[in-house]
């Protein structure tokens, strides 16, 4: 991508939080490259939970587009040095 630089090639800590009756992951925190798209987080979750679809939110507030960069999401919505991602099997905040 055009805007890669030493700053943007850092890793972002993502904290995955189950919502409603969604299964809780054994390993809830992981790191992802800032230059990756949010779709990677969604794909990771779907693989870990063996599901085709999940409802994924940021800070229990909204669902970002899978095309958004993790770096941008972290910069705009990160809390305490991490990106808090809530996941649910059915729509939690519609």
């Amino acid at each position: 991508m055009a805007s890669d630089s030493p700053i943007t090639s850092r890793k972002v800590v993502v904290h995955l939080r189950a919502t409603g009756d969604a299964p809780i992951l054994k390993q809830a925190k992981f790191k992802i490259a800032g230059t990756d798209k949010f779709s990677k987080v969604i794909e990771f979750l779907c693989r870990q939970l063996h599901r085709d679809t999940l409802f994924v939110y940021l800070n229990s507030a909204f669902s970002p587009s899978p095309d958004q960069l993790v770096n941008d999401l972290f910069n705009n919505f990160g809390v305490d040095g991490k990106l808090v991602v809530n996941y649910a099997c059915s729509m939690a905040w519609g």
Partner: protein
């Protein structure tokens, strides 16, 4: 807020000539292309019902999953139609020739779309994201009554500005106080002008403006927009989501200042010089000139900047741009072609 400008934006439309992809044509003669007007603030999948009568008879048996393509590039459906046009058609094509597909959805490039519901979901989430950026919380949007949510979405789909303004004002996402445009407005009396000032000051609730930038960076210059290469992959375009922070009241904050503030990778050195340059009107002129015409080695040059199809002067007050040209999702969508040297690490 100038109602006129917002109305122009809402009434803006792109004339489309939509062709059914030849691989999906099963009739002879093939169906004629559909000539339709696509609202700038709308989204392509919402045109499905309008297009159906033109093509449904010609399709092979199977399930329809509509998607659009421009010169081989599948179009991302969550991007407003006007933004797609401004970004991908350097030299505006009228009508804009698009190809529609009903089969073979490119899941590796496009996120799934199940029609209107998917588009509505995407819109409401963008609205929540904007609310979060402005207020630090999406509560106002989440707490909307269901009828209000439905009516708001319908007003966007059908281009009903009055209804949209009535409902969206309840969200209190605010307008940006704009002292400079306020002072330029003709006021009937001095007393009236003072009242406007008070209201403007009181309205400064937001200093974080939601912005989505679609940036094409290149390093080999070209003369005319006609010569701009067309995009065959979304990898060529950077999708940047960074809010603009307006920090100081009373300081003349231009569109150029805003663009520089969200692209620190390109403007690391010049960020520090903005303050001294902006104070002097003449310097702003020079700044604008150098950005658009000179190409000093290492200095980024904005080749094209479009918002709602308008190529704005860079020294326009940013607050005016936000208040008048933002999209119904409370985001300002900016298309940018920028000539810059390759950055370290790319």
């Amino acid at each position: 807020m100038e109602k006129g400008a917002q109305q122009y934006v809402w009434e803006g439309a792109i004339p489309l000539q939509v062709h059914l992809h030849e691989s999906e044509v099963t009739t002879l003669p093939p169906p004629s292309p559909a000539l339709i007007l696509a609202p700038r603030i709308g989204y392509l999948p919402l045109l499905a019902s309008q297009l159906k009568p033109f093509f449904s008879g010609a399709l092979p048996p199977g399930v329809d999953t509509i998607w659009f393509e421009y010169k081989g590039l599948p179009l991302k459906w969550y991007i407003p139609t006007g933004v797609l046009f401004d970004l991908l058609c350097a030299e505006p094509e009228r009508p804009w020739n698009l190809t529609v597909h009903y089969r073979g959805y490119p899941g590796n490039v496009l996120i799934p779309c199940d029609g209107e519901d998917s588009v509505k979901w995407s819109y409401i989430n963008s609205l929540k994201e904007a609310a979060y950026i402005i207020h630090g919380s999406s509560k106002n949007v989440m707490n909307m009554s269901h009828p209000d949510q439905v009516d708001l979405w319908r007003s966007v789909m059908n281009g009903k500005l009055e209804i949209y303004n009535r409902i969206s004002s309840k969200l209190k996402l605010g307008v940006v106080s704009d002292e400079f445009s306020e002072k330029l407005k003709p006021s009937p009396s001095k007393a009236q002008h003072n009242v406007n000032d008070d209201e403007a000051t009181a309205a400064l609730k937001t200093s974080r403006i939601p912005v989505r930038l679609y940036v094409w960076t290149f390093n080999e210059d070209f003369e005319d927009l006609e010569e701009a290469p067309h995009f065959d992959s979304w990898d060529q375009i950077s999708y940047i989501n960074r809010p603009v922070e307006i920090n100081e009241k009373g300081k003349y904050f231009t569109l150029l200042d805003a663009v520089k503030s969200v692209l620190p990778e390109f403007y690391q050195d010049s960020l520090n010089t903005i303050k001294s340059e902006v104070k002097n009107e003449q310097s702003v002129e020079l700044e604008e000139e150098s950005v658009e015409t000179r190409s000093l080695p290492g200095r980024p040059v904005i080749k094209l900047l479009r918002i709602q199809g308008i190529e704005l002067k860079m020294k326009i007050p940013f607050s005016w741009v936000v208040n008048n040209l933002m999209s119904p999702d409370y985001f300002l969508h900016i298309c940018l072609y920028i000539k810059a040297p390759k950055l370290v690490g790319t």
